[in-house]
């Protein structure tokens, strides 16, 4: 037995003190997506997780501020795609949940139907009207509770008045035919006391378009959508006056919109949808050359791989666009040996937010962060 000075396994030159060895770093920061299921999905937050190796896993607010980064990739009027690096999955999910359910918007809640001789039932029409996205800034409005009277500060009134003559051509009703009534409701509530002044359903003390905020941008609907249709995805209110019907069809109604949250009903959700995904990382475990390289490049439907020419007519496969990977797993399906490893970065999230028009998408995200901050403040315990 040769006598040698004892060296700690942790001091070996390829495992420097203070840093995790390769495989543990992979386990801590990446989710590896195998053919059947992903592994290493749990987040290791405990600051003493690697205490036995001498590595500090703590993350206080200062460390967070140093490692946090955000990059906006694309910003249009309706959509934003941005990256956030350095946050945990629970925070990303909280933002997604708040964007979908807790940012308030305006949507039609009460529909007063004066006349509906169409083929669509009242309640079906009212339901569809509720889902129409409105182009109104909810910050200018207050919530309307059951005991409040509807006034110009908490209600928006729209009117729909369409008809189709008997034997006339087919009329398509789109949501931009909802007219905004800045003066409030035009319908009058029936009272049994004939001497009392006729009251309308809303008591607007002044016309909404006299208020400066509204005169800048008249309150309309976001997109001229068709409200009901047999064509998929288009919303069209009604097909008026099909030739076989021998009578005049008309719709006359008034719709009142109020402020609400997606939590109460999905019509108040300000996003078409909001989602996030983790940054993909595609790694070639072995060198893939020649025909195998061609096959691999063809397998991927989104173009993650590409051929790299190596001088003497030889070809090699290389990863060029791992961000596009959708985890279809075609490159690892049915192969006998593992050529590719599909990984996801646990702390790098690619967010996409599609707005329905009330807010711009970047405002939506900032509003979501503000709402989360308010939630945290409400949850503080008053005990010392």
């Amino acid at each position: 037995m040769s006598s040698s000075t004892k060296v700690s396994a942790l001091d070996m030159p390829d495992v420097p003190m203070g840093q995790l060895p390769e495989h543990l770093h992979l386990q801590r920061t990446r989710v590896v997506c195998k053919a059947d299921a992903p592994i290493h999905t749990e987040g290791i937050q405990y600051s003493g997780a690697y205490a036995s190796i001498g590595v500090d896993n703590s993350m206080g607010p200062n460390k967070f501020c140093k490692s946090f980064k955000t990059v906006v990739v694309r910003l249009t009027a309706d959509e934003i795609e941005f990256d956030m690096v350095g946050i945990d999955a629970s925070l990303a999910n909280a933002f997604r949940r708040i964007l979908i359910a807790e940012v308030p918007t305006m949507a039609i809640e009460k529909v007063l139907v004066v006349n509906n001789t169409s083929v669509i039932a009242d309640e079906v029409l009212a339901h569809r009207l509720g889902l129409v996205p409105l182009n109104a800034d909810p910050r200018l409005f207050e919530y309307l509770s059951e005991n409040d009277t509807p006034n110009e500060r908490n209600t928006i009134v729209y009117k729909l008045d369409v008809s189709c003559k008997k034997g006339g051509s087919r009329v398509t009703v789109k949501s931009n035919q909802l007219k905004w009534l800045p003066n409030g409701s035009e319908l009058q509530m029936t009272t049994y006391d004939s001497s009392a002044k006729a009251k309308s359903y809303t008591s607007f003390s002044c016309s909404q378009d006299s208020l400066p905020e509204f005169s800048k941008k008249p309150l309309g609907v976001s997109f001229p959508l068709e409200l009901l249709s047999d064509i998929q995805n288009l919303l069209l209110i009604i097909y008026h006056c099909h030739k076989s019907y021998n009578y005049e069809q008309a719709i006359e109604l008034e719709a009142h919109a109020v402020k609400g949250m997606g939590k109460v009903h999905a019509k108040w959700s300000p996003v078409a949808t909001a989602w996030y995904r983790m940054l993909p990382e595609v790694v070639l475990l072995k060198e893939v050359k020649g025909d195998d390289a061609e096959k691999l490049v063809k397998k991927c439907p989104v173009g993650v791989f590409d051929i790299e020419e190596l001088g003497n007519g030889d070809k090699k496969a290389a990863v060029v666009n791992s961000r596009a990977c959708t985890l279809c797993r075609e490159c690892i399906r049915g192969v006998n040996e593992e050529l590719v490893e599909l990984r996801r970065a646990k702390d790098h999230f690619i967010f996409t937010i599609e707005s329905t028009g009330a807010f711009s998408p970047e405002e939506l995200f900032i509003k979501a962060v503000t709402i989360l901050e308010e939630k945290c403040d409400r949850v503080i315990s008053e005990l010392s």
Binding site: Q45, S47, V72, I98, E373
Partner: protein
Amino acid sequence: MNAPDRYERFVVPEGTKKVSYERDTKIVNAASFTVEREDHTIGNILRMQLHRDPNVLFAGYKLPHPLQYKIIVRIQTTSQSSPTQAYNQAIDDLDKELDYLKKGFEDDKNRYEEKLRQGY
């Protein structure tokens, strides 16, 4: 038929406190916080932040029933700290991080819009 009204998810009724605290009788330095009208949005974040605290030995949250809108957060700490202290510290840290996050996002958005305006 038995489902409660949807606004019950976030409106705290009169008389109930938002956060209530119950010390665990059998284990030292352990407590349960019941937060009314909250769900996974805040529960998961709180749990994650508590795990980062080196003084916390145990931290977990649960929703006892999906139709009862409250979460129960259970914390056990070492004798260096107390559950209330750990809880409040976690919320404070979260506040700081969210503030920084918001500023970072606004800065980056302004930078992006500048770049667009300059036509890159």
